[in-house]
Symmetry: C2
Subunit: 141 residues, 2 copies
Amino acid sequence: MTESIESYALDEQVGYLLRLANQRHASIFQSHTLDGLTPTQFAALIRIADLGKCSQNRLGRLAAMDVATIKGVVDRLRQKGFAVVEPDPDDKRRTLISLSPEGEAMVARMKDVGQQITNETLKPLTAAEQRNLIRILRKIS
Amino acid sequence: MTESIESYALDEQVGYLLRLANQRHASIFQSHTLDGLTPTQFAALIRIADLGKCSQNRLGRLAAMDVATIKGVVDRLRQKGFAVVEPDPDDKRRTLISLSPEGEAMVARMKDVGQQITNETLKPLTAAEQRNLIRILRKIS
DNA sequence: ATTCAATTGTTCGTACTATAATAATCAAAG
DNA sequence: CTTTGATTATTATAGTACGAACAATTGAAT
């Protein structure tokens, strides 16, 4: 009863643990991916595939990325030849983003790899724990 | 049975959900902290308080930060007046890091705030889910 | 038709993250 | 005592992330 006031267990704080879990996942991701595609770029790519042609800001919102962040991500996807950019004829403010054929091929390949990455990340857990983690993370996201 | 091949639910992948959870936590952290202290800086500060005077690389290892990352973090903590840096007389390669009096005061204040941040981050969860999340995150970290 | 508010995309500044390369130092083994 | 191998810290490069400020454009209200 004398140590409770001063004690603060960093290793049991959600924030710290989320950072560690992210680190581990990023490292697993990197060991599986080709063309140096990052988790963020992959998420954006999947979203474009699901949404079809859409504006940059809308893509950012639906991929949970800041306007400044999505700009950089789209730039790199374009640079790597996975995304195509064109002005919206109906709204001069907008830039329309879509997948190139190489982007489509990459998405097809990455869906399998993505599943492997998820499996490897969750491997230390039982099946019940895996379901639980996903469910709980969705509640605090 | 026709859609299983092409479907890939980004919103159910651990990696994506971990990124979102991190975003939410960082935003909560930022709304509680003073002096612009970041979650990473806070973690480093707590570790220094627990370890006492120690080398920069050792601090980085125990706070789960890359050598390049911990350097930047220590630089900023020093700049803000929370950390003190001195050469190790016994090993000319090493730089010893310790807390300044202001750093000690900040740690004392932040332990309370840290608990509030954790509580708010976990608020959408039941008590059982909170315990579960921490336990599961520790298994995959 | 003009003003006003909102949206879109860009840029800047700051911070975190990791890898790779480098230089200085240390410890241990020959 | 010198070579070898490991450790420590620094730097460069690249990517993610966000807030803030900005200009251009749009749509709606007056």
